[in-house]
């Protein structure tokens, strides 16, 4: 019993230390977002609000241009435009990334099952497909640009309707699906491989069809794996910058592209406003993390209870 206590205490100590490491940068960012220019990089560091420095909403007002912060007074047109742009960036990202990630997960999992149970595509298929991810996207961006902007002509010539790809939602979604499929396939393959075939055979012997076997036997066991895969793919797409920069704008505007504009604002870094943007953008992510974590836990315990 004593040993258990000590072990538990040690565990909390180690985990707690990592919590500090994780939260320190986040804390600093939120803190800086409330600081005035003189306090951003002062030495000694200003830690506590109201004690070391005067907190201010100046940075938030600046990124939303609410009320204007310069001598020239209010600039109505930009205030509305600025706020709209930030919301549009978030909305576009959410829509594109969610659709692409879910679609990628479904298609990839189905294929991973086929590969695991039937060897679809041959022995080397998983490896060839993985090479897709090994090419740094930077260079492929230009050929993609050439290709995407000439697709309308190609389709028109083939007698079809005019299919626009450049700067469209569907263009980016399809591209994100294609580029994340290799990971989905790989990860789901490993998780599905871990499910013993005997379980499925047993179910089939008892008269269940393929689809219901998968639904009732395989799916629950890989659910946690699917959640992890979905999360990973979601994050990859969420942070994807290069392809979005090259192949979208202005109709489609994802968050990473939008945020990069602020970064280069004044030949470098205005820490305050950037911290404010960072905070605004991180809050929903933290909330999402909390929600997902609950499902991850459920997924794990579900798997264990079954056993």
């Amino acid at each position: 019993m004593r040993r258990g206590r000590v072990a538990a205490g040690l565990r909390h100590a180690v985990l707690g230390a990592w919590v500090l490491v994780v939260l320190f940068p986040v804390f600093w960012m939120v803190l800086t977002s409330f600081k005035d220019a003189g306090d951003w990089v002062s030495w000694p560091t200003r830690w506590a609000p109201f004690v070391d420095f005067e907190p201010t909403l100046l940075n938030y007002r600046q990124i939303f241009y609410i009320g204007g912060t310069t001598q020239s007074g209010e600039l109505r047109r930009e205030a509305a435009e600025q706020a709209y742009v930030i919301w549009k960036g978030m909305a576009d990202s959410v829509v594109i990334v969610t659709i692409a990630s879910v679609a990628s997960l479904l298609l990839g999992s189905a294929l991973a099952y086929a590969i695991s149970r039937f060897g679809t595509g041959g022995r080397n298929y998983p490896y060839t497909i993985l090479t897709i991810r090994m090419l740094p996207p930077i260079v492929v961006a230009i050929p993609m640009l050439i290709y995407y902007t000439s697709i309308p002509e190609l389709f028109a010539n083939l007698g079809g309707a005019r299919v626009e790809f450049f700067d469209t939602y569907s263009g980016l979604i399809l591209l994100y699906i294609a580029t994340t499929l290799p990971y989905v396939i790989w990860m789901m393959l490993a998780f599905i491989d871990e499910v013993p075939r005997e379980l499925e055979h047993a179910a089939r012997l008892m008269g269940a069809g393929r689809l219901s076997t998968i639904g009732k036997v395989v799916f629950p066991l890989v659910a946690s794996g699917m959640t992890v895969t979905l999360l990973f793919v979601f994050i990859l797409n969420w942070s994807e910058f290069l392809l979005a920069l090259t192949l979208s704008q202005p109709k489609v505007l994802t968050l990473p592209v939008l945020l990069n504009k602020f970064q280069s604002a004044v030949e470098g870094r205005l820490y305050g406003p950037q911290a404010a943007i960072g905070t605004v953008v991180t809050i929903p992510v933290v909330i999402l993390g909390f929600l997902i974590q609950k499902h991850l836990v459920k997924g794990f315990s579900f798997g264990m209870i079954r056993r």
Binding site: G38, S72, E78, L145, T149, P250, Q263
Partner: protein, 494 residues
């Protein structure tokens, strides 16, 4: 033979006479540059038979606050609405080049810094404006030759000048005027401290005007460490200031066959000077861009700074500044070449508006350019406290609003003088490759990892390779235009 020529000549003259006046009549009516631009735009719309027109401008996000009101005004005057799509200035070159490849026609106007022009022209994504200018008659004869040359590439006009970023040297007036300091300085160096004539003199000032926190500095107690100097030493910046200093040795960077001349004694001396001055700077300067350098100076941490002209306005008016009213702007120092003092500044950025080749209404785009950069509008832009356009036209020296923006009347006079001697950064195709080679080697020298001679030798070698890769004949041709336009004044080596 003569008779035939005679008749041909007569016919030719008659034709010319008929066509000539018609050509002259092409000039758009209007007493001022701006008026002509507005009339030209209105005439264009009339020709199209529309009342309104939409254009798109790719804009540096820096101008997001300042530009819109001018666009609104333009819309009211002409019915042409210009929508802006902003990018950080680090992304715009890539986006312009992407447009060259994709030919989307999405943008009518590109806005970036002056050095982008050669690559944009060679990529075939912008159009020359000579024909439009012949009709619109913009006026740029009063701006210095050096700056005016940046509007052209290989003899053709592509953009208008609207932002004088020529570097300035700013000193701390309050420190320079300390009576005890003045006496001690004079005793040591044989002259009164003040705006230096040469780079060496600046270094002498830096070596004198520094101290530690708490030290008694000629009658005052230093509240914090005082550094002698500040100048850009970071990646993407250092090489710009190097070019100004090098030009003050009155030497060109390439000869007429595009052989680099930077590894000669002048180039090595320039690098050595910059390395030497670094010892008076805060060591953190290696990672500093503008948002770090500016507040550091404004909070009274150093005696002098060589940077963009906006420092003066910033140090006088920004939040948190402790040196308001204590700044002494100076004409950039120089070097003594063959007995003469040669001062040279550099134009390290500037603002550039180009018309896209794939625009559906290039003429409409042109009229906006002429209007916004005209003497009247241009001055208003420069006087705008939200904008980042800085003075460059002589007429701006008399504008009280502009002096008000910077908080200092002397400053405007000084920066206009700096404009007169501000050389452009290498205005050739592939200039960013040349810059990068110089930058990386300079960084090695600044950090003390290689000697200045080695740094310049390597740079020269890399520059030769770059020139060969781009095409030596093309570069030779373009460089000839540059030198003959007077961009580098009377520098030698061609």
């Amino acid at each position: 033979m003569m008779r035939r020529l005679g008749i041909a000549g007569m016919i030719a003259t008659l034709v010319l006479l008929a066509v000539g006046p018609a050509r002259a009549a092409d000039v758009v009516p209007g007493a001022t540059v701006e008026e002509r631009a507005v009339n030209g735009a209105k005439a264009y719309l009339k020709k199209l038979g529309v009342e309104k027109l939409d254009l798109t401008m790719m804009m540096v996000s820096l101008f997001a606050k300042a530009q819109p009101k001018y666009l609104d005004e333009w819309e009211k005057l002409t019915g042409i609405r210009i929508k802006t799509i902003e990018y950080g200035y680090t992304e715009i070159p890539a986006k312009i080049m992407a447009d060259a490849v994709a030919k989307t026609g999405q943008y009518d106007i590109y806005n970036h810094q002056m050095y982008m022009l050669p690559d944009a022209v060679e990529a075939g994504v912008v159009i020359p404006l000579d024909d439009f200018a012949a009709r619109g008659q913009p006026y740029f004869d009063d701006i210095p030759k050096t700056l005016r040359s940046e509007m052209y590439y290989k003899g053709k006009l592509y953009t208008f000048f609207t932002d004088g970023d020529q570097t300035v040297l700013a000193l701390r007036k309050d420190l320079v005027e300390l009576p005890q300091a003045r006496a001690a300085f004079k005793a040591k160096f044989g002259r009164e401290p003040g705006c230096p004539d040469t780079w060496k003199q600046w270094e002498e000032l830096a070596s004198f005007f520094n101290g530690k926190k708490g030290q008694n500095f000629y009658g005052i107690t230093l509240e914090k460490d005082l550094y002698g100097a500040q100048e850009y030493r970071a990646r993407e910046f250092g090489y710009r200031w190097w070019q100004g200093r090098f030009s003050s040795k009155n030497k060109l960077m390439f000869d007429r066959n595009m052989k680099p001349l930077i590894d000669g004694p002048e180039g090595i001396e320039t690098t050595r000077e910059m390395v030497s001055l670094t010892k008076y700077m805060p060591q953190d300067v290696f990672g500093w861009g503008t948002p770090q350098n500016y507040p550091f100076f404004a909070q009274g941490n150093s005696f002098s700074i060589s940077t963009f002209p906006s420092i003066v306005g910033y140090a006088n008016k920004a939040q948190g500044t402790v040196i308001s009213g204590k700044i002494l702007p100076c004409v950039v120092p120089g070097s003594v070449v063959k007995g003469k003092l040669v001062r040279r500044s550099v134009q390290p950025a500037g603002t550039n508006y180009m018309v896209s080749k794939y625009s559906k209404h290039p003429e409409a785009a042109y009229w906006f350019l002429q209007w916004f950069t005209g003497p009247e509008m241009g001055n208003r832009a420069v006087a705008d406290p939200d904008g980042f356009w800085d003075p460059f036209r002589p007429s701006q020296g008399k504008d009280p609003k502009i002096a008000e923006k910077y908080g200092s009347k002397d400053f405007v006079t000084i920066t206009l003088e700096n404009a007169r001697i501000a050389v452009p950064m290498i205005p050739l195709q592939g200039n960013r490759e040349y810059f990068d080679a110089l930058d990386v080697n300079l960084q090695e020298a600044f950090h003390g990892r290689i000697a200045p001679e080695e740094a310049m030798k390597r740079t020269a070698r890399q520059w030769e390779k770059i020139t060969d890769d781009i095409g030596r004949k093309r570069q030779i041709e373009a460089w000839k235009y540059v030198v003959e336009s007077g961009a580098y004044l009377d520098a030698e080596g061609f």
